[in-house]
Amino acid sequence: MALDDRKRAFKVVGTRVPRPDGIDKVTGRALYGADMSAPGMLHGAILRSPHAHARIRAIDTSRAEALPGVKAVVTSADFCRAKHSFNQDALDHCMAREKALYDGHAVAAVAATSKSAARAALELIAVEYEVLPHVTEIEDALKPDAPVVQEDRRARNAPEGTHPNVTHVVSFGHGDLEAGFARADRVIERSFRTAATHQGYIEPHACLASVTPDGRGELWCCTQGHYYVRELCADFLGMDTSQLRVTASEIGGGFGGKTTVTIEPVALALSRKAGRPVKLVMSRDEVFRASGPTVSSWSDIKIGMTRDGRITAAQAMLRYQGGAFPCGTVELGAMSAFAAYDLEAVRADGINVMTNRPRQAAYRAPGAPMAIYAVESTVDELCQELGLDPLEVRLKNAARKGTKSAYGPTFDDIGLVATLEAAKAHPHYAAPLCPNQGRGLSCGFWFNFGGNTCVTLNLDADGTVGVTEGNPDIGGSRASISMMAAEELGIPYDKVRTIVADTASLGFNDVTDGSRVTFAVGLATIEAARDMIRKMCARVAKIWDIDEEAVIWEDGCARPAGPNAGDFEPMSIAEIAAIANKTGGPIAGHHEVNADGAGVSFGVHLVDVEVDPETGHTKILRYTVFQDAGKAVHPDYVEGQMQGGAVQGIGWALNEEYIYGEDGRLQNPGFLDYRIPVASDLPKIDTVILEIPNPGHPYGVRGVGETSIVPPLAALSNAVARAIGARLHELPMSPPRILQALKG
């Protein structure tokens, strides 16, 4: 559905209305994953491997089963084999089969009448392990004698002799690299490393499952995609999809980490075995050890530049590890690495390597931050060496309409140049700096997706409208969807209420991911509203006894199309609704679509830092985010996405990392030592929203959720490099590393 041709004067879209779930959330009434209980409910708990890699020889659950209060114990034997290998990986991540593949991998679970009984029962489960050699780092996993994490998972297109831990080998690009590098005045090659990070949502995974002996199930859980949870769980438990109803609770943050299953199949299996509802809630320690952090990376970048700042050729070799299972995130990294540039010769290769770590889950623009960090750092170093302004160099090389992108397709209207121009014109870019201070700049990019979407609008008897959609609301989407419905129908925002349906109440919806909801659900909502308008106009045509085409919809009323249509008083939506039962029955609008045309999103971040030369401590002085939103439906929440993503990226750049010990165990599975930014670490995060309409959406909307996490990594690294006169090539830039770099 293309951008509306007519120039729109929006009445609701673009305003800052109150969100419908707001009062519930400030009064403690909103119900999240762990907030629901059921009569006769049991408490579940999961036994996890203390070993990074171990064969499971035997599991004896008899003593646990005999403990008073214990009603069920399950292991991998209680699940079906999955239909596809990708699904089987998801199941194996929830419950180990032959081997425990990482520290914290689930091996058994219990359900008991109290939390303390469940915990006590875990200690009575005897697991016989054969401890195997383990590997947690990319370099080590590629060594010829490295332990093989899982057999028979080597990439099918991998060259002979490739290590069995390599599960993906990818390559993107075009043009003649050799000729390109030959034209450069300066070519540099650098290696970069980024640590694995965690989405760090504050709400641990939680669910309440109830399965009855007739094969029906109910599942309440915090998830970004309850339809996908249903699909996976039904597969793993051998249930018919229609018999499992999944209801998404309010979700306490996801950022990609709740796009798959972690404990939900286990809770269902426990409930089925116990014959009672089971609540299962992860501890924070379990979240860090056994949900899905990001990949860590080790990348080589080679870029050639002319003296006047034109990039002549660019090349990347990305190596990602995504845990103990095949992980395709490196594909997205290789595609996005050079997306911001208009390049004649470009190539990005990538491999994914298995290690004894938990299975990677998506994290906001998965794969892009680490690749773009490496590229944007290298570009910045070239600017420093050649004495060029880093913003001018980005402008000179910026991808724009007609650019053949580094990942293949030719760009349509994109906002990168406008975003860079906005940064250039902003007072931040020209503000003076003091000693030990530095300013960093980076571009960021994300693809954005659309996807499968189903929306229903119901006209109520008083003329108000209910919107039923199927995507968990992680950042205020119920507000933006109501706004688009109100806009299209021409009624006030407060006459619309949007709810998130359970899986039995509405057709399939893809996961809330890929920055898709405001775009795709918004698009489907607009179409569903148009469907409802057509039906309302048809009713009015009957009432007026004129042709349907002679009735038009304007400002929430049906009107005659023109003087020839007849002389009728406009009928309001309330008037139509009041007599709907007499004119043909209830009125609803519906739309289902597999939406495409999401339109890519670019952002530019500017940051000023001050580094304490004696301690290596980095203080962020000023931060400005520039991002193209296409059309900002609810500017508050667009700003919120830009600020939140920026701060997650800041954490990634400075302090956050998964730290594994020699024993292969995670050393920092808590918020004390997995250090996400706190309020006092930060200045105000300024935002500048640009609106370059997306041609693929009737209102021009682009997804805004993910791009903002991409630029901070390089922006911070570039700022630190300019503050201390030395460049780090590894994240996080922890104080010991900065002090080391200062010493040279």
């Binding site: 401590h617 006092s680 104080p735």
Partner: protein
């Protein structure tokens, strides 16, 4: 596990003494409950000392202040008298955890938990504070530096607990300061820390100095040689540099997830130097 909330110190000591298994004192609970949650500790008895009369009080004593073992950090920060007399101790205590933790965590608990990185302890050691230990055989006084003996281990005997801590009186032209290094601005455990207490003469020359270092050894280190570098000086750059170097030399830290040996050794000297300047300023030595 049993829970008891005795109404007198003798009752508490008797309960702790009588328990055949692991008996633990519960004051603020901000270390104890975390260790119980992780499974590192599984006490058989918890003795909540917060209902013992007097233990929740801050009282003036001989020109100093006695801090009851149940006084949470936030109360200390709100006490103008303690703030004025021992600002370094107060700033150290106020760095323990979040505002929420401040509402619970106690100075005595921070001492007895015996973490080498405890924020209050270097400041208390620099202040020459004295712990009053209550036990089955009555009371005894003990320098705070003798309470922790190694990571997670303290010198208290079965049945004993710290009932209060005395911050002594101090002469005019004296002050203290505490600094720690953490990667963020709040919420972290000290990677290195330094407490400095100074006494100056009429000319602003340092006549007495105590410097204690945290997170750079198995327990808090008293840096006597470093302190000596300041005696007789006005904390000129050379004296401070020598002092910082002595701190770095004394430090014997470990490499761990929070920091490296090289980093800790260097930064502990920087912190001691900066804390000394603050203490000097507070003592009026820069006026």
């Amino acid at each position: 596990m049993q829970f008891a909330a005795p109404r007198s110190a003798s009752e508490a000591a008797a309960l702790l003494q009588a328990e055949p298994g692991d008996a633990r004192v519960l004051a603020g609970g901000s270390d104890l409950l975390v260790q119980m949650k992780s499974g590192a500790l599984r006490p058989d008895l918890l003795v909540d000392i917060k209902r013992i009369p007097g233990l929740d009080a801050i009282t003036a004593e001989d020109g100093g202040f006695r801090l009851g073992a149940a006084v949470p950090g936030a109360r200390l920060g709100e006490h103008a008298g303690v703030r004025a007399l021992w600002p370094g101790v107060v700033e150290a205590v106020e760095l323990i955890g979040s505002t929420q933790v401040q509402g619970r965590a106690t100075v005595a608990g921070n001492l007895c938990n015996a973490s080498p990185a405890a924020d209050a302890v270097p400041a208390l050691v620099a202040a020459d504070a004295v712990a009053r230990v209550f036990g089955p055989r009555g009371e005894r006084d003990c320098p705070v530096s003798d309470i922790p003996v190694g990571p997670g281990r303290n010198s208290l005997a079965k049945g004993e607990f710290v009932a209060s801590i005395l911050l002594p009186a101090r002469p005019k032209r004296a002050a203290d300061a505490y600094l720690r290094f953490i990667p963020r601005t709040e919420m972290d455990i000290a990677v290195a820390s330094a407490g400095v207490s100074l006494v100056l003469d009429e000319d602003g020359r340092c006549t007495r100095a105590r410097i204690a270092l945290g997170a750079v050894g198995p327990k808090v280190l008293l840096a006597e040689e470093a302190a000596h570098c300041l005696i007789g000086t006005k904390l000129e750059d050379a004296a401070l540099a020598a002092m910082a170097e002595a701190c770095s030399a004394l430090a014997s830290p470990i490499d761990d997830k929070r920091g490296t040996v090289a980093f800790r050794k260097q930064v502990v000297g920087v912190l001691a130097k900066r804390a000394a300047k603050i203490a000097q300023d507070r003592a009026g030595g820069t006026k």
